[in-house]
């Protein structure tokens, strides 16, 4: 367990695009291109998502239920300086339902509004992984402080991604 983590950390520090990032990108790509492939103009973005120092990291999950963990972390591209999150709470046919979505964003204006009986809360924050679902334990809570060294954060991030990476590798 220790060896692969160290290896990945080394990869990260060398500035090599690691597989950890590829996972994020794949999600982004998928989100953009519809099955029929229109939107030719749809961004060459993601290319410039270099793991340069100082860029923000946010949780990136879509429509989690209450209690569900967000396991995906995104390195925000340059210019995306907000971690954004929306929580919706309202009644559905199957009873009251809370959902949570989080992502990196370039603009963000917090707002709380009830629409057709659904309470929507949009929140904005600007620190590493600050858009964590309220029911989720912060990574390494108890041990390192949130302002831990970048290497520490990277390591915890990679560790949290490990299961996914292994699945991809096979």
């Amino acid at each position: 367990m220790k060896a692969p983590a160290a290896l990945l950390l080394a990869l990260l520090l060398c500035g090599q695009p690691g597989t950890g990032r590829a996972q994020d990108e794949e999600e982004e790509e998928h989100a953009d291109v519809g099955p029929e492939g229109y939107d030719d103009d749809d961004d060459e973005e993601g290319q410039e998502a270099s793991v340069a120092a100082g860029l923000l990291q946010c949780y990136a999950c879509q429509s989690l239920y209450r209690g569900e963990r967000c396991k995906q972390v995104q390195n925000c591209v340059h210019g995306h300086s907000f971690c954004k999150a929306i929580m919706s709470h309202g009644n559905t046919e199957s009873g009251p339902l809370t959902t949570y979505s989080a992502w990196c964003a370039d603009t963000c204006q917090p707002i709380t509004k009830t629409l057709e009986g659904t309470l929507m809360t949009l929140t904005c924050c600007q620190s590493t992984l600050c858009n964590i679902p309220p029911w989720q334990e912060p990574p390494g809570s108890g041990a390192g402080s949130p302002q831990g060294s970048p290497a520490m954060v990277a390591a915890t991030l990679l560790l949290s991604l490990l299961p996914g990476l292994q699945a991809m590798g096979s």
Binding site: A31, E36, D41, D43, E48, W103, L115
Partner: protein, 478 residues
Amino acid sequence: MESKALFLVALGMWLQSLTATRGGVAAADRITGGRDYIDIESKFALRTPEDTAEDTCHLIPGVTESVANCHFNHSSKTFVVIHGWTVTGMYESWVPKLVAALYKREPDSNVIVVDWLSRAQQHYPVSAGYTKLVGKDVAKFINWMAEEFHYPLDNVHLLGYSLGAHAAGIAGSLTNKKVNRITGLDPAGPNFEYAEAPSRLSPDDADFVDVLHTFTRGSPGRSIGIQKPVGHVDIYPNGGTFQPGCNIGEAIRVIAERGLGDVDQLVKCSHERSIHLFIDSLLNEENPSKAYRCNSKEAFEKGLCLSCRKNRCNNLGYEINKVRAKRSSKMYLKTRSQMPYKVFHYQVKIHFSGTESDTQTNQAFEISLYGTVAESENIPFTLPEVSANKTYSFLIYTEVDIGELLMLKLKWKSDSYFSWSDWWSSPGFAIEKIRVKAGETQKKVIFCSREKVSHLQKGKASVVFVKCHDKSLNKKSG
């Protein structure tokens, strides 16, 4: 179309007989200045912000004092308004409206109205032929202003409506230096659709030529407005064929309200809309309508052209960005039926999943958008066909600025209030996400089903989707 043209001609003759007093006066009281200017028949009235409706003071080519007498402002820009074919032999009611709007936006400017009414009230083909002479007159006038007063042509903006647009084009091609801009307001189609560039409005006639096409219904050559692009930027509001609020039902309502006095307005409703769109752009400067470059009207209707990358979108009217593409580009937008004309455009993309094997045709849906500022509910749209495991893209638009999108509701309408087939087994699809691209804000938003997957059933309750991702498209990242 034919019958409409006949109606116009008949109406013209009738009204002409009522107002046949004008014509002759013009030639008689001409003051002849320099030799070169003696054959100029068109008149150039400098209107004032105080009196936008009357030609009280004329700038007379060759007569230097006339310019000072009319208080021409040499240090500000000049708009030259050129009217089109007129059945009545009088200025149409839009002229003072456009003059007033120009002065409202540019209070220090000079707004000159070109009077070529006597030539403009002939049979259409005759008047169409006169655009060459009118263009020549205007060019002579402009050249004189440049030579006599060193007035910079870079300050000159010609605005021509219908036949006036081609007169403006000819004028622009004959000036010693290019004028700054020509705006063609639904340039006339008959006799010009197949004409060569020198005898009609074309991109070479000014530094920048922008054109609004609002009444291009019918086969090319027959349509009142020219169909092909003739400027650097050619905008086709609502597809360019016909404008909202200009149908027969609307016409009857207007006659009932205002009487028959405005009957000519109805015939020209779509044609004249070009002018009112431009007036709107002068008056509502904070909220310019956006037009989007697109290869076809059909692609625009599918919502595929709401991009602003690489100058693919532009402002309609006065605040247009002067983009000179190598080949002229057609741009599209939707509008309201009255001022302010602006609407907000959205592309909606939905993937229908399921095991349904039938393809349904002409299905009616309703979508509601909820945002930070307001909401727009029950916007109808029809999909020509719906079948499982396909993605559909379409355009919707709304008059209200709903702000940042937060939530979306979708409903699949039943064919009638009580449909046996729907009751027996109503078809349905599973939808995970809906993608929306907003043209005006250049944002892409993903809406997720709250239950991971929602089931949309025909004739049943609407389904709610909540925003779960968004991003800006125009920001250059990195």
